[in-house]
Point group: C2
């Protein structure tokens, strides 16, 4: 009878595993590591400043088809590449421009080799989990493992017997900035800094250092520093036998600076040995990097650090519990939630210090100073999700943004490590601030926030956030002759920001401002050409720009009217005035027809933000609400997968993942700065959102869905929902249970 | 009657001035700043680590015919150049290779300009004195003045009203090494480091940092850092609008590293203002540089620092007092003595710390750690002069050399800032150690010194001091097939070192060693070709190298047999066996005949060391002693002048100056490691040497000379002197008064 029992046992075991599987176990960090998702499978703690990512984008184009210097590549790791040249210790995730990807360690064996093209290796047996990564390096028979605490990357290298090396390469990096300093402090410690910056090939003047201290669990038998200088071209080159050649500075213990430098620790192992390497980082100083390392990790082992980080991840992720759905559904869901917890990330050191924006001073925070605000992306859905799931963090992010205003005189636009990268367009900070407040998270200096928003909306002189503001105010739109990139897109962004200001003004009782900004927020209509049915680029004098091609701008190509998109992808990007848009388009039928054409004509771009709200717009059309569910479900199925190419494109610091999290939970915040949601068919039978008791009275919200039904309606919630599929944020927050069932239509 | 009184008064006044002129007033640091003397007119304290030299060797070849990158140029300043690009704060004096010449400040006015080719200026009204330099910068109407304490350069810039800048350029430098770090600490402080090294285009692996802290007497109104990155050449260059362009990082307060970087302080002066800039340096750390600055200078004013340094110089120089001779005679004499007090220079910081040789550790001295040991030059006369005039310093130098042996396992050869530059040939440290001991300065660990000397004389495996040692021991000479450069020269150098070991062995009662090394010291004879009458290059198997050209090697050209010289310039370089050489040459007449030919045939090279003893060799020829005085007098007149071209060539860290000091005083130590002197006609009527009471019982030695007489003989000193014009060092030391009068011959 044993043969019968086995499958039964198997089922039981499988059941046990499932029962024991906690959210963190579903995370698959390989998702997004291909198809330009730009995530990486490295080890990181929630919102960590440090991370340890495999670095496989340098050189050997036959092994690394996505080579960092051969194109615009924004990630330290690409799943289809095969040639690994180390592990970088500060990394960005899901961004569209190269930066960071530096402080690269590499375990090797045999004679010291400092050229990454020589010492790099293929690898196998990759494992990636939340807070953990490992691979076996073919060339050296070395197993490399990585974990991380918030500010410390921890690696464990398992070496065979013989001569082994740990390289710390400060020349190599994803960033296009150059320049580093390194000093071997002792046979088990190295300190230094690496210059990073010019994110998106912008604002190179602001390039800045990241500092580090590396501690090794075993003192090296030999150590040193290498430097490859630039080749000297003068008359004197004839006497320089060493011209341009790599120098090995054995036993050197003072500072070495240069563009192509590194340090090494060499061991002569009689038997196989493990070496743990702990690297603390800081954007303030080497001393702070050392303190981060000591206070956060100290003498803890690799296993201890990993256990703590894994637990931190689980705590983060269990804020949402799901039932039903496949394992892949849960995997893409929790991985998406994981991807929302990488950026914005912590900038301040253990002691609270961080570099201020613009002032050159070192600030000190009592809470958390966040950085990496890709606000053009994140204002659309990300911060709304944070307000709901992680209100404490969202408030800290708002406070960080207000600190930046204090320091810089301006709110952030695309802030990275206290530099303003000035990438993308619009004035998204205003939207985030208003949205947070209006969702009930009011514990910040709203008057200051309002002042900052208004400044950027009104100051027409040297305004870094809203170029071309005067023309916008005068004409209601930015002309193609305004000198501002993507004038249609930028006009829409300014409209959305103005709407947010209006909403906050209303809430603060500033009636006059409310009217002014509400009025301003609708000026997009001036760009609507009834002849074509598009929002089109126009000259300041009112003439349409000719020739108009609604396809111009697809696939991120540069064009006259739009930023990273075309007329189709921007036509419906008026989330604050969908009904107004519907009117000027001639009513719901025309609106629906055009919207259908976006999808049917292949104009929909899931890979970028302007049109990510589109599938939810069907909920505005009485009788066509079912299209929202079917479109959303279809898009998820097409673009989100449990595989490296499982993101539609750049994750955009979690925005694409936030879209998935919302969509799989069954609701979405269509209008930024308007606290409500619309519904779609969830991916699970049951979704339980555990609310933060410090901020919300309601302990949890449960969304139930009967998978046999097609579309959605609520019971036990106010009646209007059954009318138009929208629910007010507060109503939602205070609902104990929401049952999504087939509507009567 | 007033008309008659005036000239009388004039005479009296002139007399008064002369009477008040102290040694320091005679120093003219412009001497040696042309004709490749390689000195500089910068401000420096005796044996200072820091100095402030005008820097006029960069760019604009039409104004700077001796441009640093257009040739092998070893000095930060050349008198005939006209385009000044700042003031360098660590400098070498009188060396033959480029290094240091970094940490360059420059006062400018108007808009910030960071390219030295743009901001450089011509200048006028140069003044240079011991411890002081000033010039007026034409372009800016700025007066720049400089003084220095041991480890701190102090500048005073007198600006007109308006916008003024002080630049601190860390890209520019005389050294061929690159790489610097800079950080603006506050509006009146900058710190950083600059890489230097690869002296003589050698040992680039050992390139090392010099650290600095700069303090400004007035806080700047604006400050910042600039960086010019290398031009990026990859695919991505198309997106880098900033590619290769200089970046101005306004208000930036964190570390910036790079090859071409600098910092600036900008002032907006309503009226003319002075800014004092104090720059402390260190070879250990920024902290030490700061401490050097604080403890050595602190709040002292420019005037106070200068007064102290001037007094220090005077104390140094008044060790010799002279009477008679012209003002130019006194000027070239005291300037030469001044030039002997620049190198070896102090390496240790105020707190005693210094970088050790090879170990990578920071050492701590209780006395003084000296550096810049150009021993191939200085073993010949320099250290003998130091033993006589500055015995305490000479002993400290010996101790520094022994510390290097402790650290490195080897004595120094050409040590610079705790790196062994491995330039030149031979084993000169042994000679210096033996000579010092044998001159009665025995207060050092002579057994260790002896051990170190013998190690280098016997160890045939990986011996960095004596390459080719095995062949030398086996054959008595280095063959042209030994792979060792200048095998004739190097054989002679090893002979001289072996002789020194023999002399010390004898003194220490090591009779066997004495015999061995004495025997070895005479092996040069194997290179004497009686057919040509020269010391010639030879193969290891005993065959002469053909063709032999006694002129090959003149003017520093590369050749098979000799280092920086030819057969004429090395033939008599056996100072320890002049009588033996005389014998193999066939006696005194043949010797004299050949020696005459050196001078008469134009083969004598006053610009380099191998033949600097030649004029004194006539004292070995009975009846021709007068030729020594006439040759020496003639050479002084020809090569030593009170003008920028007043040195015969490289000062060789004071060796050429030591030759002049001795020669003008009337005696010379022909044989290194043999404590005696021979005499020549002094340049003064009276020379008084004030001996250091801590080391010598005799308070002073007076040499009197009657200028009407032609050559020399002594009375009141032992009888042998009248026989062969030589005097034992101890006899000399204990003489109260030596009268040099016409000999009876």
């Amino acid at each position: 009878m044993k043969n019968i029992i086995l499958p039964f046992l198997a089922v039981v075991i499988s059941g046990c595993i499932n029962a024991q599987q906690v959210p963190v176990d579903y995370v698959n960090p390989f998702i997004g590591t291909s198809n330009y998702g730009a995530t990486n499978p490295g080890a990181i703690a929630p919102r960590g400043m440090a991370s340890v990512s495999p670095f496989n984008v340098a050189g050997r184009i036959e092994l690394n088809p996505l080579e960092k210097d051969s194109q615009w590549l924004s990630n330290p790791y690409v799943n289809e590449n095969q040639f690994l040249t180390g592990f970088s210790h500060v990394n960005l995730s899901g961004v569209g421009c190269p930066d960071l990807g530096v402080i690269i360690t590499m375990p090797t064996t045999g004679e010291l080799q400092t050229d990454h093209l020589q010492y790099g290796s293929t690898y196998k047996n990759e494992v990636s989990k939340a807070g953990y990564y490992s691979a076996n390096l073919d060339k050296y028979d070395v197993k490399a493992e990585a974990t991380a605490s918030t500010r410390v990357g921890v690696s464990r290298y398992s070496f065979p017997a013989g001569k082994s090396n740990v390289l710390l390469n400060l020349g190599l990096g994803l960033t296009n900035e150059q320049g580093a300093m390194v000093r071997v402090v002792s046979s088990n410690e190295i300190e230094g800094m690496r210059t990073v910056g010019s994110f998106c090939y912008n604002n190179a003047e602001a390039a800045y250092p990241v500092y580090f201290v590396a501690k090794f669990s075993k003192p090296a038998d030999e150590f040193g520093v290498w430097k490859t200088p630039y080749k000297y071209k003068g008359e004197e080159a004839q006497w320089m036998a060493y011209n341009g050649k790599t120098r090995i500075k054995e036993g050197f213990t003072r500072e070495v600076v240069g563009d192509s430098i590194g340090a090494y620790m060499t061991y002569n192992f009689k038997q196989p040995q493990e070496v743990e390497v702990k690297i603390g980082v800081s954007y303030v100083s080497i001393d702070n990097a050392r303190e981060n390392l000591e206070k956060e990790v100290g003498a803890s082992s690799f296993e201890e650090v990993y256990a703590k980080t894994k637990e931190a991840w689980n705590k983060k992720l269990q804020v949402v519990e799901v039932e039903g759905g496949s394992k892949d559904d849960k995997t893409i869901f929790y991985t998406a939630l994981y991807h929302t917890q990488i950026h914005p990330n912590i900038l301040n050191d253990f002691n609270g210090e961080y570099p201020e924006v613009s002032t050159g001073k070192i600030g000190k925070t009592k809470g958390t100073r966040y950085t990496t605000f890709s606000l053009w992306d994140t204002y659309r859905n990300y911060h709304q999700l944070m307000s709901l799931l992680y209100p404490e963090e969202q408030l800290q992010m708002v406070n960080s943004m207000l600190e930046m205003y204090d320091e810089n005189g301006w709110l952030p636009k695309w802030e990275l490590n206290s530099t303003e990268t000035f990438t993308m367009v619009g004035d998204p900070a205003a939207v985030v601030l208003a949205d947070t407040y209006l969702r009930g998270l009011t514990d910040f200096d709203v008057e200051k926030a309002y002042e900052a928003m208004v400044k950027s909306a009104l100051d027409t002189v040297n305004n870094p956030l809203r170029p071309g503001l005067k023309g916008y105010i005068d004409n209601g739109y930015l002309g193609v002759d305004s000198g501002v990139a993507g004038p249609v897109s930028t006009t829409l962004e300014y409209n959305i920001a103005d709407y947010a200001i209006a909403q906050l003004a209303k809430s603060l009782g500033k009636e006059k401002d409310y009217n002014t900004f509400l009025d301003r927020s609708l000026s997009y209509k001036k760009l609507y050409n009834p002849k074509t049915g598009f929002l089109q680029p126009k000259y300041s004098d009112g003439k349409w720009y000719e020739p108009f091609d609604p396809l111009a701008g697809a696939n991120f190509e540069k064009n006259v009217g739009y930023i990273e998109g075309n007329a189709w992808q921007y036509l419906f990007m008026v989330p604050h005035d969908i009904k107004g848009l519907m009117n000027i388009m001639g009513g719901a039928a025309a609106f629906e027809n055009k919207l259908d054409k976006v999808f049917d004509g292949g104009h929909y771009d899931m890979a970028n933000e302007p049109d990510i709200l589109y599938p939810y717009l069907y909920n505005y059309i009485k009788g066509s609400e079912n299209k929202t569910s079917s479109k959303v479900t279809e898009l998820i199925k097409k673009y989100y997968k449990n595989s490296p190419d499982g993101l539609p494109g750049n994750d955009d610091t979690g925005t694409m993942s936030a879209w998935l999290v919302y969509s799989m939970m069954g609701f979405y915040p269509v209008t930024p700065s308007e606290p409500n949601y619309t519904f779609t068919k969830p991916a699970f039978e049951k979704v339980k959102i555990n609310l933060n008791a410090k901020y919300y009275d309601n302990q949890s919200i449960i969304l139930n869905f009967q998978p046999s039904k097609e579309t959605i309606v609520s019971d036990q919630i106010p009646e209007f929902l059954t009318n138009d599929f929208f629910i007010d944020h507060n109503t939602f927050l205070n609902s104990k249970e929401i049952n999504l069932i087939t509507p009567e239509n």
